[in-house]
Symmetry: C2
Subunit: 160 residues, 2 copies
């Protein structure tokens, strides 16, 4: 594959993956393109590289900024903004934890609906598994945040 094809492949793969995280595919592709860039991009550059409409780029960038995955940079003397990828997946992971916590709440709510003790024990077991899972993920995120604070700087750029 040529470098251009590989780049397009990377961008499309990010679109697919972020779609499975409940983000629109175009938003994921924009993130993929931004991740490969050393310098911030203009909206026009993204539009041209990804074959998207101006509206799609605008919507996608707004989504990325709201998820902490990108930030906009004002340009002095211009109304146009530059866009830069941030590595803020912590926020998406936290949202995924929230969904899992909601799932656990549904499972726990089933405790008063079960037919008997065997079903109650099984439900408790499944709920416990997911609680252990989210707890492990949250401890990891906290440890990471602690390491960043100890180092005196965020390892991952945060949205301003």
């Amino acid at each position: 594959m040529s470098g251009h094809d590989e780049r397009a492949g990377f961008v499309d793969a990010l679109g697919d993956i972020l779609a499975s995280w409940h983000l629109p595919r175009a938003t994921g592709r924009i993130y993929g393109a931004l991740l490969l860039r050393d310098a911030p991009a203009t909206f026009d550059e993204l539009r041209a590289e990804l074959g998207l409409s101006a509206g799609a780029v605008s919507t996608g960038v707004r989504g990325l900024v709201s998820w902490g995955l990108a930030r906009t940079i004002p340009q002095p003397g211009s109304r146009r903004l530059l866009i830069e990828a941030a590595g803020g997946f912590e926020q998406l992971l936290a949202a995924s934890h929230e969904r899992t916590r909601a799932f656990i709440a549904v499972l726990r709510s089933g405790a008063r609906l079960v037919d008997g003790d065997a079903a109650a024990a099984r439900l408790d077991d499944v709920s416990g598994l997911f609680e252990a899972y989210v707890d492990a993920g949250e401890r990891m995120l906290e440890a990471r945040r602690g390491a960043e604070t100890a180092a005196g700087r965020p390892e991952i750029p945060l949205v301003e």
Copy 2:
């Protein structure tokens, strides 16, 4: 809400949640109904409770068995099988880890496509976050498996 409505609500919620885990909604609803039952179900009972076709129940049960979320039990003197929920979410979580590992591989593959050092450092940081995340989840699953072995019995019923 009546008990019946609550039960239907639980079943539909499981359908929604397992759909976000890439399982068909009917499959998730069958799992929800099985989770609440103390005794194994017949295919006919599931069909009647969930308003599904025989084919949909059959497909859903097959999916659940293949994911370790249910097991079938032969009935002596009959060709019919009973179905029982298992708590085997370990397999689904492992599949989720596999998807995340594939995502990390895509991110790592971007290292040779980046424009420069800043993009390389950011990509490495994002990849590291996901690696830490999957590692934490896998350690949790392993610790749980260890606890089960130590107790001399599986806490969560496994597929036979």
